[in-house]
Amino acid sequence: MPPHASYTHLTVLDIVPFGSIAGKNTFFALRLSRPDWPEWQPGQFVMIRPDSFGLEIPWPRPLGICDMNDRYLICFFQVLGRGTERLAQLSRGETVAVTGPLGKGFHSEVDTPTLLLAGGMGIVPFIGYVRSHPQPWNLSMVFGHRPPLSCYPIESLRERIPVDILRETIPGDLDNLLFTLHERIHDYSAQNGLILGCGPKPFLRTLYGYGKSMGARMQLSLENTMACGVGACLGCVTKTAKTTPETPEYVQTCTKGPVFWIDQIVL
């Protein structure tokens, strides 16, 4: 249980669309008034619920924390369904209910070469991770994506660390991404570096497979459907490494994760 989590109402400072696909904006940076949190970690998330959900949309939506400073909290989201559609309709001055910071964030070792692997929206937690890292020269990133690069808040990262950007538009691009991921994970695990990954399930499964086979020190941030975000509904569970076909063992992604070491889970 996160000791400092709170439920509070925050004011929307602005909501900024990023990029567009077929003339439509589906990626948004949501800037909120600063919550009264004593501390937070990159990789943690919030449950966010605007009044417009009413009774029709019961669950708040889990959004990864992009970054926070002494003035505001930034979340970044993609419109994928009815909940995020309504989030995208928020306007300046409205308030939203926010529970957080929730879950366990990414591990950080200041002096260790650290490889960040982001697929699409998986870039979100690394914005704050890179910004707050005391020795950013130890960090580098591979970013794989399909929608245009303008959909993602990548500029602040490129100012601080080297980022290999690989866009997947035709089937051959995927092979290139997989090759690059394999090579880089191999390099970092050979020097006992730290490897952190976040992205969609197929991307994470790839990282998991490479990481396990190379014995890498790797953490992955999982994304699952959540109702509560506080460990009660048991909906967001993921299988632990101790699971067997006869006796499945699940843990909550929201409270035991969302960031796990790869030897804790099976993907």
Binding site: H4, L55, A232
Partner: protein, 308 residues
């Protein structure tokens, strides 16, 4: 305002400082919600269903959001009664509020064994018997759909847990809920919770697949409130023991509707997911609402449905 409630059962009495309880499966073991409110301010909380042995639960996906509700097929994932008694229970504020244990088993005998185990735990104020979970194979909702089995389970738990206030949680997935309620009352229950989730289903039309791994699951949330109100009203008319209303409550107005239908107390379920402070906030909100209605106590508005 007197918010206190006395649940006067057949062999035991349970005192609540207010009628707000939390529903099993929606509030963890209480501790998950401690950052968001004072657990001791609640009338009590009902912990996630306990089984005799640890249970891994169902495969995922286990939950789906629906219009004004949600489906779940969690399959009673829990660490088992022994782990709960040794590790979790000592951390719960049993001296300050009612810690109620929800129990589930696949056989009548296992229900009896759970009752025996919990009867010796002073920190447990009451037992709520779940004869209505729709998500577990090997029986599951069966106990709550068969009047004779419902009687048998209730009678055995009553016999094996002589020290505990005994609540039985009923399923709405039956033809005549009052019939089951009367059997449970005849078998010695002190109170009845109604209702558990309503069996439902969700399909993804694009993939033509069910959205739950379990195919079907239990519907909860505001969508089922009218069903719950109807069941509370029918059971309260049919039985003399107290009824605890549960199903889709999100506001103090909802609470008062259940009281008018005949409920002595209520449980807050899915609304805990909407906002982790819901149950805590409802206590003062109910106080204010009852005051504005010119009512001096919870007891004085109970069962006051006007039919003329």
């Amino acid at each position: 305002m007197d918010l206190s409630v006395t649940l006067k059962g057949q062999s035991h009495t349970l005192s609540l400082k207010n009628p707000i309880l939390t529903a099993s499966g929606t509030f963890g073991y209480g501790l998950e919600f401690a950052p968001y409110g004072d657990l001791a301010s609640l009338g009590g909380f009902i912990v996630k269903g306990l089984s005799l042995k640890p249970r891994g639960g169902n495969p995922t996906p286990r939950i789906v959001e629906t219009t004004a509700g949600m489906l779940n097929a969690v399959g009673l994932q829990n660490d088992g009664v022994e782990y709960f008694c040794q590790t979790t229970l000592p951390k719960l504020p049993s001296a300050k509020t009612n810690v109620i244990c929800n129990i589930y088993a696949g056989t009548v005998e296992d229900f009896g064994a759970l009752a025996t185990r919990l009867d010796g735990e002073d920190g447990v104020a009451a037992i709520e018997v779940n004869i209505s979970c729709p998500n577990v194979r090997m029986g599951g909702v069966l106990f709550g759909q068969d009047p004779a089995l419902a009687h048998q389970v209730t009678a055995l738990v009553r016999k094996n847990a002589p020290k505990k206030f005994l609540i039985v949680k009923l399923s709405p997935n039956v033809t005549d809920i009052a019939l089951i309620a009367k059997q449970v009352e005849a078998a010695g229950a002190d109170a009845i919770s109604c209702i558990n989730t309503v069996l439902g289903m969700s399909i993804d039309y694009k993939t033509r697949r069910p959205r739950l791994a379990n195919i079907v699951g239990g519907l909860s949330g505001p969508a089922i409130k009218p069903i719950a109100l109807r069941c509370v009203w029918q059971v309260a008319k049919a039985c003399s023991i107290p009824v605890i209303g549960v199903g889709g409550i999100t506001t103090a107005e909802d609470v008062v509707e259940f009281l008018i239908a005949g409920a002595h107390a209520v449980q807050i379920g899915t609304a805990n997911f909407m906002n982790p402070q819901t149950s805590f906030a409802l206590v003062p909100q109910l106080d204010t609402l009852l005051g504005s209605l010119g009512v001096s106590s919870v007891a004085s508005i109970r069962g006051t449905l006007k039919l003329d």
